[in-house]
Each structure stands twice: as C-alpha cells, then as structure tokens.
C-alpha cells in the first residue's frame, strides 16, 4: 500500500462545495421558495392593496410596512428556514451521513450562512423593487443604507443561530414548522410589523421586546421612516444603540445555545 498521503481538501474548497449544495437545496425546493421567499412578497402585495392609512409626515402604509416586511423576510430566511430545514436534515439522516465524512464541520455552517445571505438578499431586493415600482416608496438615502446593512446583518446572524438551536429542539421538519410558524406569526403581530408599534398594547410590546424581530423592525423603521416619526416610537426614538445591543446579545445567546445543543443525529441515536 502506498503511504503517500494526499492533502485533505482545503476549508475554502469544501465551503465552495457546501455553498453550492445549500443554494441548490433551497432554490430547487418549491415549498421552501414559496414559503420563505414569496410569503413576505405576497403579504406585501395583499396588505398593500387592502390597508391604507396615513401615519402623518406623508407616510402611507406601504412606506411604514416596508421596514416590517423586510424584517419578516430576514426572519423567514434565517430563523424559520434554518429551524425547519436543519430539523429535516437531522431526521432524514443527512446530518449523520455528513458527520461520517471528512467534511470540516465548520464548512457545513458556513454553507448555511451563505444560503441565508442569498435568500435574505433575494427577498430584500424583490421587496424593495415591489415597494418602489408598485407603491412608490421612498428609498433610504446616505447613512440610512449603512444602518440598513448592519441591522439586517446583525438580525440575520442572531436569527440564524437561534434557528439552528430551534432545529435541535424539534423532532423533524414538520414539527419544527408547526412550532415555529405560529410563533413567528404572533411575533410579527406584536412587533409592529403589520400595524404601528404604538398601537400594540403595552404588555405585548414588552413581550415583543424580548425577541429579535421587534428590534429588527424598529432598526429598519429608522431606515424607511422620516426622523419625525421617531416620536411615535414608545421610547420617543428609534433607539439604534439598543437595537445593536439586543441583537448583539441574541447573537451571543444563540451562539452559546447552538454550540451546546447542536447534534448531528437524532436524540438517543448516539
């Protein structure tokens, strides 16, 4: 037997392979594309056609809704997508098979991050195009784009990590979906996505404040709404510092939970 050992493939080359796999797995599955990508699009088109109220300062419903629906899009692309699909990969043996190969484990997670980024960016671009061409919303300008970028990135990171954690709690993708989807809907209602946050009862505002969706939506409102409307926020401002703090904390909590709970096979199979 020859003893010349070929070098193991580099992390970069395996990541490239995994990223390709993740993108194909997502975009070829009709359910995931409709559920994750088109759900916020359909919501935007449907609610944009039905709801019509004036928030003052020349802000109509679509302009207000833009921030919330983009937060919903990011939430779907990261938390819901990860929770449901990783639970599925665990229950059907995909993860177990992968863990028996010399694939570096980090490559798997980086591949997931690439998938989340691709889906989130695609969702955001489609929502913005509809916003501009169907509803004539005003796009952010100057420094607002920077705020947009960090709120979206930090929110996506926190929700990806939480989604991976939730996938471990679920038995399979169906139970993950059945758990996460209603929770997401409730959070969307109490986080100021569909109706102005100051119309949400105070105690529900408090509950919403515990979760990242409210802070993503709030950070994004600072991007899409004129500064005067900051006064309609319960705190009297968009609290960008606190947005960064809470989302950052969720990243830390999510990372710790993720690392401590992640399993490559179903419970009781090790």
């Amino acid at each position: 037997m020859t003893t010349v050992e070929r070098p193991l493939p580099s992390l970069f080359s395996v990541v490239r392979t995994r990223a390709g796999v993740e993108l194909k797995e997502f975009f070829r599955q009709r359910e995931s594309v409709v559920f994750t990508l088109f759900f916020p699009v359909i919501l935007l088109l449907a609610l944009g056609a039905i709801l019509d109220y004036d928030l003052g300062s020349g802000v109509d419903f679509p302009q207000y809704f833009m921030a919330g629906i983009i937060a919903v899009g990011i939430f779907g692309a990261s938390l819901q997508n990860m929770a449901i699909h990783i639970a599925g990969e665990r229950s059907d043996g995909t993860l177990k098979s992968l863990s028996g190969t010399p694939m570096p484990k980090s490559a798997y997670f980086i591949g997931k991050v690439v998938q989340v980024l691709a889906v989130a960016v695609a969702t955001i671009v489609i929502l913005l195009l509809i916003g501009v061409f169907v509803y004539g919303i005003t796009l952010p300008s100057g420094r607002d784009w920077l705020t947009f970028a960090w709120v979206a990135a930090l929110g996506a990171a926190a929700c990806t990590l939480l989604g991976i954690t939730v996938s471990t709690l679920a038995r399979n993708s169906r139970s993950a979906s059945a758990t996460v989807t209603p929770i997401a809907l409730v959070l969307e209602f109490i986080s100021g996505v569909f109706l102005p946050f100051d119309q949400v009862p105070t105690w529900l505002q408090t509950i919403a404040s515990l979760f990242p969706l409210k802070w993503m939506a709030q950070g994004l409102r600072s991007v899409f709404l004129p500064d005067e409307l900051a006064l309609r926020e319960p705190a009297g401002s968009f609290e960008l510092g606190r947005v960064a703090l809470v989302l950052g904390l969720w990243c830390v909590v999510g990372l710790v939970l993720c690392v401590r709970t992640f399993r490559w096979q179903e419970r009781g199979e090790d």
């Binding site: 193991l8 043996g93 177990k96 028996g100 010399p102």
Partner: protein, 300 residues
C-alpha cells in the same frame, strides 16, 4: 454492570489477546448499554485488511450498534476499539477520509441529482474516485441527472453505496445494504461488492440474509443478544463442515432417517439391501440457515 466473563467463543479472538494495530478493525470487550440493558455485551473481534466480514444476527441483536460504534457514530460504555489503528471516538478528518459508510437509514433526501450528490461527496475527500465512474460501477449511469426521490428502493440503495465508496475508502461499512431489494437487484449488488473486493477494499457488512453472507463473506460472525456466539468461514459455521449428514429413505412404508459421518458407505449399504432404487433417498447436510437458527434460538 452485569457483564459476566466471556466464555471462549468458537473462532473469535480471545478477550485477553492484545488489540491488533495492523488489523482493519480490532475490538476487545466492547460494551454499550441502553438503560439497564447491554445492547452490546462484550464483543471481541479482529477483522483483517482486505477481508469481507459479515455480521449476522436477528433484529435488535446489536449489529447496528456495534457497527455505528466502529464508524464513530455512537458512544461505547466499555472496551477498546481500533479502526484502521485509530479509536473511532477520536477519529479526525484524516481517519474519516479512509472510511466509507453506508448507513442503514441511507443518506437522506436531497434536491440534488445523483451525479451532483456524488461530486459534492467527492469534494470532502483527499483522493476521491471519479464520480461518473462510481455511478457506472453501481449501474446508475442512466440516472446521473435524476434526483434521489425519483429512484426505486434498490437504485436509492445503490446510490447510498456509491456515496460510500466515492471517497476511495480502505474500509467500507455496509449496514443492511440490500434490505428491500428484489432478488435481481440483490444479485447485481453482490457483483458490485465482489468488484470492490478486487479493488482491495475491506468490508464489514451486516445482514440478516444468510445467502448474502454465504455468497460474499470471507468470514461470518453471528451476534445475538449483544454477543458474538461464533466466528467462522461460512462453510464451517456451527460445525457445518464436519456435521453428520442425514440420510432419508422409505422402508416398509415408513419414512426413515439416520445420522452418519460416512454417508457414502451408508448409502452403499442401503443400496445393497434394496433390489433397485432406494425409495425416496436423500442425503442432507445442515444448511447455513439450520445452524444459524439453532444458534440464535439458543436460550441464555
């Protein structure tokens, strides 16, 4: 822990023999508990490099648990294990690149085509086989562009095997690879395993098909209630090679039979007693199935 000292198992390695670092697989005193039950209860085993070894046993006997410990997928509660010289509990990427695994549950669902799946799998290994050649080897060339869920059960399993061998493993684990195959698919699969043997791959196969073990394996280990009860070449399992033959015939209207170590002489004697043909003459040796059923049926 209630493990009783292992009695000497016919054909198996003695528990006090040191681990063999040159063996493909070397196991001493392997124990795995589920609750208060020992699913694997003191297994000792050496598998040589280049050998095809079949682990035979009824459902729940501990086959999959044993194999998954060797693959690095499960913990063990006791004993020593070396797979290609490494403890699987600490196997790193280099070790995994020498191993191919076909899980009992298969490789999961995917939106990727067969060829795309094989290419992705190949990209994890340092010295993979050509994915197109592997598809050819398992007879799935015309399904290269098909997605997993459009394949039949047998094709799906051959894809699992293709994924297991594309990394050019020195050791291949096959956990019940042909469950659910029709006889034709099973025969095709056997010839695939033989061609892998030609390429020098060591294989550990679990099965509950006796003909499969007899057809493929250099040696067979029978496991029941977490213990190996015998290790032997298939022709000699359960003393088959030296077991007395049983001669059946009909005499005075009654069915008669006799056990004999010298069936030829016995039949010659019979032939002399009868004027013509010996009525309903048959000479039988215990089949693998006979000895296997006797082994797994043994009370504790």
């Amino acid at each position: 822990m209630t493990r009783t000292p292992a009695a000497t198992v016919p054909g198996a390695v003695h528990p006090s023999t040191p681990l063999d670092p040159d063996a493909a697989i070397s196991v001493r005193g392997l124990v795995r508990r589920y609750g208060d039950r020992n699913a694997v209860d003191g297994v000792d085993l050496d598998i040589r490099r280049g050998e095809i070894f079949a682990l035979l046993g009824p459902n729940g006997a501990g086959k999959t648990t044993t194999v998954e410990i060797l693959e690095g997928h499960r913990r063990r509660d006791g004993g020593e294990v070396r797979v290609l010289g490494v403890d699987p509990a600490t196997g790193d990427r280099r070790w995994k690149s020498d191993i191919g695994i076909v899980l009992q549950s298969g490789a999961g669902d995917s939106q990727l085509s067969c060829l795309e799946l094989l290419r992705a799998q190949a990209a994890y290994f340092p010295d993979p086989r050509d994915p197109a050649e592997v598809l050819d080897l398992v007879g799935l060339t015309e399904k290269a562009g098909a997605r997993g869920r459009t394949l039949s059960g047998g094709q799906r399993r051959r894809l699992d095997v293709a994924l297991g061998i594309v990394g050019r493993p020195r050791l291949l684990f096959l956990d019940e690879p042909t469950t659910g195959f029709d006889p034709e698919a099973r025969r095709q699969f056997w010839s695939l395993i033989r061609s892998l043997r030609e390429l020098g791959t060591t294989m550990l196969l679990t099965t509950h098909y006796l003909d499969e073990a007899e057809e493929l394996a250099d040696r067979v280990g029978v496991i029941t209630r977490g213990r190996l009860v015998e290790v032997a070449v298939p022709a000699e399992l359960g003393g088959r090679g030296t077991a007395p033959a049983v001669v059946h015939w009909t005499e005075d209207g009654a069915r008669r039979s006799a056990e004999t170590a010298t069936p030829t002489a016995f039949v010659a004697e019979l032939a002399a007693r009868f004027p013509g043909e010996v009525p309903d003459l048959a000479v039988a040796r215990p089949t693998l199935e006979d000895v296997y059923l006797r082994m797994i049926g043994e009370p504790e």
